[in-house]
Structure formats: C-alpha cells, structure tokens
C-alpha cells in the first residue's frame, strides 16, 4: 500500500503529519504543540513574576497584567497540561493495551486539530486588540463588563478546543473498552491506562457544563441574551457553578493521568509490582466520583448558605482518603524494592513530598471557615501550583524522560536531566512555598501590583527568583532535547531494562501498525512476566501473522478545524456593528466544516489491508532482518 512507500522531503513530511491518523504521530504533535503553549504560558508567568518582584512596579500595566494572568492560567490548563497529557496517552495507551490504534483514528486527528486551532485562536487575541482579562475563571459580571474582544476570544477559543478534548475523551474511552488485546482484562490494565480511562470519563461529564457555560456567555455577548445580566433577571452565580462543575473535575482530569504516569515509573524503577494495584484502581475511580461532588469548595465565600458550605466542605475533605491510599501505595511500592534513581524516578521522588504538601493545603482550604480567609489569596495560588507543578508538571517532565525512548527511540541525557530536575525542583519550591505565607499575610491573588509597607516585599522577591530558576530548568530540558536529537543514538527495545508493561515489549522503532500480531496478555505487567519466563520475543501472540486492517490518512480533520477557526473569527467580529463582512466569514467557515463533514460521511472510507508481504517488507526495512515468524 502506498503509505509504506515513504515519500521524502519536508513538504511530504508536513503533509504526512497534517493528514496522519496514527496515534503515535498525533502524540508527537500533541507533544510539540503542548510544549510550545507551555513555554508561552511560562513566559507569561515570568512576566507576571517580574512585575511582582517589588512593590509599586510598573514593568507592565495593570490591564496587561490581567491579560497575562488570565492567559497564563488558561494556556497552562487547557493548552499545555491537558495536551501534554494527551501526548502521553496517545503515545502509550494503545501500546499498553495491545491495540493497533485508537478506536477512532479519524476523530483522534480531529481532536488534535480542534485543540490546536482553538489554542491558536485564543492566542491571536494578543495581536487583535487584547487578550481576555477576567481570569481563567472568567466570572460573569466582570467578563460581561470587560471591553474589547478578549472574552470573546476566550469563549470561542475554549469552545473549539473543548470540542477537541471531548472528542479525544470519548475516543480513549472506546479504545480502552473495545480495543484491549485478548487477555487484557480490566484488572490487568496498567495504571496509566486506568487513569486515562477515568480521566476520560471525567472529561465526558465535566466538559458539557463548560460547553453550556461558554455558550450562554457567548449568547449574552453576541445575541443579547440575559443569562448573566442581573438587571434582566439573570444570575452570575450560574456561571460560577457551571464553571466549577467543570473546573473541579478538570483538576482531576489533569492529575489522575499524572498519577498513572508516576505509578508506571515507581513500579519500573523499584523493579517491583505496583503495591496494592486493585486499591489503586479503586482509589482512581473513587476520586473520579468524588470529584463531581465538591465543586462548590471554590465558592465558599459566594454566600451559598452554611448548610451548602458544610456539606461541600466535608465532601471535599473525603478526597484526601483515596488520594492518601495512592500515596501510601507508591511508598510501599518502593519499600522492599530495588530503587534505581534515574531521571524519571528522580521526578517521581520529587513528586511525593511536593504533591502531599499541595494536597494537604487543599484539605485546609476545604475547611470552609478557614477558606473564608484563604480564598482568593496567594495561599490558593501556592496550593494549586504545588499540586499542579508538583504533581502534573513533574509527571510530564518525568514521563518525557521516561517515554522518550518509546516515542523517539532515543534516550535523553541523564546528566542534563538531573540538572534540569534540580534547577526546576528548587526553583519550584522557592517560588511557591513563600506564597503560602503571602496569602496568610493578607495578599490577595490576581493583583497587578501592591503597595509597599505591607510586609510582602521579601517573599515576592524570593518567589520571582524561584520562577527564573524554573525557567533555566526548562531551558536545560530544551537543550537536552536538541542535543539528543542531534546525536540521534538509537536505543532499541526496553532501554530502561526494567520495563514491565506491554509498551516496552514492542521492537523499536515501533512499526506504524504497532503489533505485527495481536499479543496475548497473561497477567498484570505482561512484559515482566514474559521476561521472567525467558521469552525473548517479549510477548506471546494471540493470532498467527495475517493481514492487518489499517485506517486511511485524511486531511478532512484539518480542514474541518480550519473551518471552525474561520467561523470563530466571523462570530467574534459579528458582534461589532461596523463589520458587516464578518457574517461571510462565519457562514463561509461553517460551510467549510459542514461540507467536509458531508464529504466524510458520503464517501465510504473502509481503510485498507496491509498484507503479510507488506508487513514482512516493513519489518525488514525497520530492523534489517527478515520480519515475521520464521
């Protein structure tokens, strides 16, 4: 088939990525795009920290600061953390469960491009009259009051990228439900697959409230609806609820996959089965459930009444129990193991104390009357950066080192990796530890500046210094990536030596069809089992070598996303009385999307069959030996 005869050249490569439906390539695109947005969000953070380095600073204006703050939060959560996690989910989950691809390869590509164009749209606001400035929470009264198009960029950008996220979520769910290899029962799935599963379920239920909230906000701004206009009977608290019904599960959408990644790392580098596997699974599901019952802890000071506050306070505290289960299981995984301190393990080791510190401040905030003091102060900023940076970002960096060989068949430098870790880790604690005290000392969050003589100067200075240490750390990582890419030393299968799960059993580089033959899974940690039994092949097969059915590449996801991107501009400018042309953009964009949808459904796409000869030829090309079974 044509896709085997690889075309060469830059243009061909770009086209290949634009049309690809291969989960491994989509993973790379998520990784690249997510990293770009992460650096962007990080630069926004640095600018904020420079502004706050001393009292009465005027490095940036107040209005610009609010834009930085809003875009930093929004970018980091929606465009950096989530996509980077999707990168690993895409790269790893199908391999972990023994699948040839995800359930809906076409939708996988669509999910990526929607996210990407949504993110680009949001960020174009910087050049088109100003970014959103009402905080990542975009509370209704302020976001309706806010002038210009910033909020419209927020609403439309998140709507588009949110659609992508939802699609990806459903895709992972179906993949995990339907595509597991024979023998891969639910209770044999690696923990990263489990957390991906639960996080995707959370996406399924958490994104609709956001979608509705954004739609209502859009209708208010675009069509003069009155959902949030109290002078017309509207109610701004509705937005707050919708946002947090989404927003709280969202933080678990982020942290659960991070937990999964660390579970893999702990088990691998302790050379030991994950302790309490079934309780880990149970805890993951429980956290998912409880995650939907606690959102109002973000609204303790809104005035919901003592009863509501008390209920939500207690419900919130409960989450500490399953999370604690996880923490202790990780510790007990190390206990009695054989711990090798590689860079990924270093991140995992750094994660435990950092995340626990962030988690327990969360429980403090859950004590509603105490939260009356802590809410909207820097204490909160400290809390969530401890869980987010100490949990998710460490997981992302750690997994980048851990899975680099899987994704690129190269190993990042361990030496540079350690430098990165220490710079980032020290910078991180330096930045955010002192913020607890700033909050307790009365410093509200989201302040563009502060007056002197309030006792906040030193700690803010320390915090800024820490942020720069983090930046140097990130730069080291970037350098590491570049050096590794230039060196281009291939490492082959199971480079860590202690791989336990199916993804490490596949020969490197991974062929585009993943598994020549579908593997048969004979227990938890399949690869470990096979290795212990001396199976050099790494896996047992469930089927003889035969034809493989593969999906066709398609440019349609890209075109559909471009259509929505264009339509978003139309919708945005349609709110201005003097921009009559915008309606054509809106209609034109939507037409592009609908026509591509129509083409997609009217044109049958049965995929193609990869024949045994093709498989053998491909394996010969990749591994230089005769492919297939003798």
């Amino acid at each position: 088939m044509s896709s085997i005869a690889k075309k060469k050249g830059f243009g061909a490569t770009v086209w290949d990525y634009m049309t690809t439906v291969d989960h491994k390539k989509i993973a790379v695109m998520y990784l690249v795009a997510g990293t770009l947005f992460f650096v962007l969000g990080g630069i926004e953070a640095l600018l904020m920290r420079i502004q706050l380095v001393q009292p009465n600073n005027d490095f940036v204006s107040a209005g610009f600061f609010n834009q930085l703050m809003t875009m930093h939060g929004t970018t980091m959560i929606f465009l950096a953390a989530m996509p980077l996690l999707f990168a690993f989910m895409n790269a790893v989950v199908p391999l972990q469960i023994g699948a040839r691809d995800v359930a809906f390869p076409f939708l996988n590509s669509l999910g990526f491009w929607l996210f990407f164009f949504g993110g680009v749209f949001l960020n174009l606001s910087w050049f088109l009259g100003g970014a959103p400035d009402a905080g990542w929470t975009s509370y209704a009264s302020l976001s309706l009051y806010s002038e210009g198009h910033g909020i419209d960029f927020y609403v439309l950008g998140l709507q588009v990228s949110g659609a992508g996220t939802l699609i990806s979520g459903i895709n992972f769910l179906v993949t995990i439900i339907n595509m597991r290899a024979p023998g891969m029962t639910y209770m044999r799935m690696p923990l990263f697959t489990w957390t991906t599963f639960v996080a995707s379920a959370l996406i399924l239920f958490a994104f609709p409230p956001l979608t509705i909230g954004l739609a209502l906000m859009l209708f208010d701004r675009m069509f003069g609806a009155n959902f949030f206009d109290h002078t017309m009977g509207g109610n701004t608290i509705i937005w707050e609820h919708l946002f947090w019904i989404f927003g709280h599960p969202e933080v678990y959408i982020l942290v659960l996959p991070a937990f999964g990644l660390f579970s893999e790392i702990f088990a691998t580098f302790s050379r030991k089965r994950l302790f309490g596997y079934s309780s880990m699974v149970f805890a993951t599901i429980l956290i998912g459930f409880l995650g939907f019952m606690v959102w109002a802890h973000h609204m303790f000071t809104v005035g919901l009444g003592a009863t509501a506050n008390a209920i939500f306070a207690v419900a919130t505290m409960l989450i500490a129990v399953p999370t604690g289960m996880k923490v202790f299981n990780w510790l007990l995984t190390m206990w009695g193991g054989s711990i090798k301190v590689t860079v990924p393990m270093l991140y995992a080791l750094g994660f435990i104390p950092s995340f626990v510190a962030g988690g327990v401040t969360g429980v403090m905030q859950a004590a509603a009357p105490l939260d009356y003091q802590l809410h909207d102060s820097y204490f909160i900023v400290a809390h969530f950066h401890y869980v987010i940076v100490g949990g998710i970002v460490l997981a992302l960096f750690g997994s980048a080192h851990y899975y680099w060989p899987l994704m690129f068949n190269q190993m990042l430098s361990e030496k540079l990796g350690k430098i990165t870790f220490w710079l980032f880790f020290i910078g991180f604690h330096c930045t955010f530890f002192v913020q607890h005290f700033l909050g307790l000392m009365g410093m509200p969050r989201r302040v563009a500046t502060y007056l002197d003589n309030q006792g906040w100067d030193t700690f803010n200075l320390i915090s800024t210094v820490g942020a720069f240490l983090m930046a140097i750390g990130v730069l080291t990582l970037v350098i590491n990536v570049i050096i590794t890419a230039v060196k281009n030393e291939k490492v082959g299968r199971d480079p860590w030596g202690d791989g336990r799960t199916l993804e490490w059993a596949i020969p490197q580089p991974v062929p585009f069809y993943n598994f020549r033959q579908t593997p048969l899974v004979r227990g938890l940690d399949t690869y470990w089992i096979e290795k212990q039994e001396g199976n050099t092949e790494g896996m047992t097969y469930a089927e003889p070598l035969g034809d493989i059915h593969m999906p066709n590449n398609s440019i349609i996801p890209f075109v559909m996303s471009v259509g929505l991107f264009i339509a978003s501009f139309g919708a945005l400018y349609n709110m201005d009385a003097d921009k009559g042309w915008s309606i054509y953009l809106l209609i034109g964009g939507l037409l592009i999307t609908f026509i591509s949808m129509f083409v997609r459904s009217a044109k049958d796409d049965h995929g193609y069959h990869l024949h045994v000869e093709d498989i053998i030829a491909e394996e010969e090309r990749l591994y230089g030996k005769k492919g297939g079974h003798e």
Binding site: I177, P182, F205, I245, G303, G305, A306, N309
Partner: protein, 114 residues
Amino acid sequence: MAHHGEVVAKTATEFKYAREQRAAGMRMQVVTFALMIFLTLIAFLAVGAGFSFYFVAPVILLLAGVQVVLQLYYFMHMNEREMGLISFFMWSGILVAFITILCFVTIIWWHNAW
C-alpha cells in the same frame, strides 16, 4: 482484524425462531409505546385537573422518570446483555445531571450568610 467472524447461515429452524423472537420483541415494544402514551396522558390530565402543584409536580416527574427508563431499557435496549458498562456510564451521567439540577434549584438564589 481479529474480530472477523465467519459468515454463518442460520438453519431454517434457527431462522424461524429468531424471526419469531424478534416479532415477539416488537410486540413488546408496541406495548411499551402504549404505556408511554398512557403515562403521558396521565401527566397532562393531572395538570389539567388542577390539583395542587406540590402533589402533581412529584407525580409527573415520576411519570417522566418511568418513561425515560422505558425508552432507555426497551426502545434503546439498555436491558440487553453486555450493556453493563454502558448502563454504568448512563447512570453516572444521570447522577451528575441530578446533582447539577438539584444545586441550581436550591443554592443559586439562596444567597445569604456564608
């Protein structure tokens, strides 16, 4: 892919049996439909009769609930085997939906003390 089954023709008896089963199933669906129409009628009549809101509202909500279960389990076959996981997801969705609505009809306008 691995899931390619073979094309198997049913024997005449099997075929007849399957047909009859499906026809019986279809009759069941029509009964379900009649039931749904009946429930709807009751709901409209209860409102038309002008009983107290606090009596009628729970009743018609219950009727709606029953109707939805009928739709899901009979029309949409959620009662069939291998639907366990899907039921789990549907009920999870219903749970989240319920909490959301409960919240919005209570605390949204209850601003008071903390």
